[in-house]
Symmetry: C2
Subunit: 165 residues, 2 copies
Amino acid sequence: MADHVDLVLAQWAAERPDLDASPMAVIGRLTRLHRMIDAELRRTFGSHGLDGASFDVLATLRRSGPPYRLTPTGLMRASMVTSGAITQRLDRLEGRGLVVRSSSESDGRSVLVELTDAGRELVDRVLPDHLDTEQRLLAGLTGAQRDALTGALRTLLESLGDASE
Amino acid sequence: MADHVDLVLAQWAAERPDLDASPMAVIGRLTRLHRMIDAELRRTFGSHGLDGASFDVLATLRRSGPPYRLTPTGLMRASMVTSGAITQRLDRLEGRGLVVRSSSESDGRSVLVELTDAGRELVDRVLPDHLDTEQRLLAGLTGAQRDALTGALRTLLESLGDASE
DNA sequence: AAGATTTATCACAGCGCTAAGAGATCCACT
DNA sequence: AGTGGATCTCTTAGCGCTGTGATAAATCTT
């Protein structure tokens, strides 16, 4: 079987035989998968009046456990976006009443972001749908294939410095 | 070993033990990898005065072989972005003299996009750097691990309908 | 006490998506 | 053949999300 990336590699082999395009076999596929998956997830979020960026923040707060409270810096690290992007995400979410900001008592520079009841209810409502969508996207893999893929991706992430703490 | 996604899964298991969050083991890692890789590739492109979207178009034309000419629809399919996004990419590239548009003689609805000499020279100059970056990002995997990852990603792509033609 | 660092925000520009629209071509039915 | 509707191709306009770089305030360091 051949997917689109196999075609791309064949084209490069014909046009630039002097170069080794083999890294694209992994990175090109990661990119394409991301695009396909992202489009599908966006649809799920959209059906709940959300977008991926907003859900990301709500879910990060939700899974941190009571009192569902983190700093913008913590959210920034979890989401791997810049501080400016977090500020804008929080502006939107606060405008919709899904999170509230308050200033930290222990550190005057810092802000505490907390899920409101409405925010928690929304993320708990979206989450099952979201997981259904993800499950459906992976339905083409056997359990063993999923485990193998998980392991390979973890290895690559770790080699790039992704750490749990 | 544990990466960030292992932590996320543990958080969900504690907060929502009623849900099966296991699809995130794959999709969460794909998302994080994409972000890390994308940031790095952007840096390479930036050092040549380019961005990922522009390089994507130039590279697609380049690897299609002489006369380095495709329609916007062809570019849209290869890149998996919408037609509106392609129009904007072409506007930018044409403004910089890297591609030219002409109208098709065989189909009055269609447009032909062709790499200029400057466009071809630029993509040929960027390509080795780009592949070096990709190679470096994958350096943490053994050859066998790369092959295994490639196979798993291809299987998933095919199950989602990605086809070479 | 002064300088460096951390934290968050603001302003700007870039890129993508959606929805709507205009023009060309294809098709089905008379 | 001819005509009207459906489809295809590309563009346009508006909005949202992200990154970058500068800024301001608080804290840490020496």
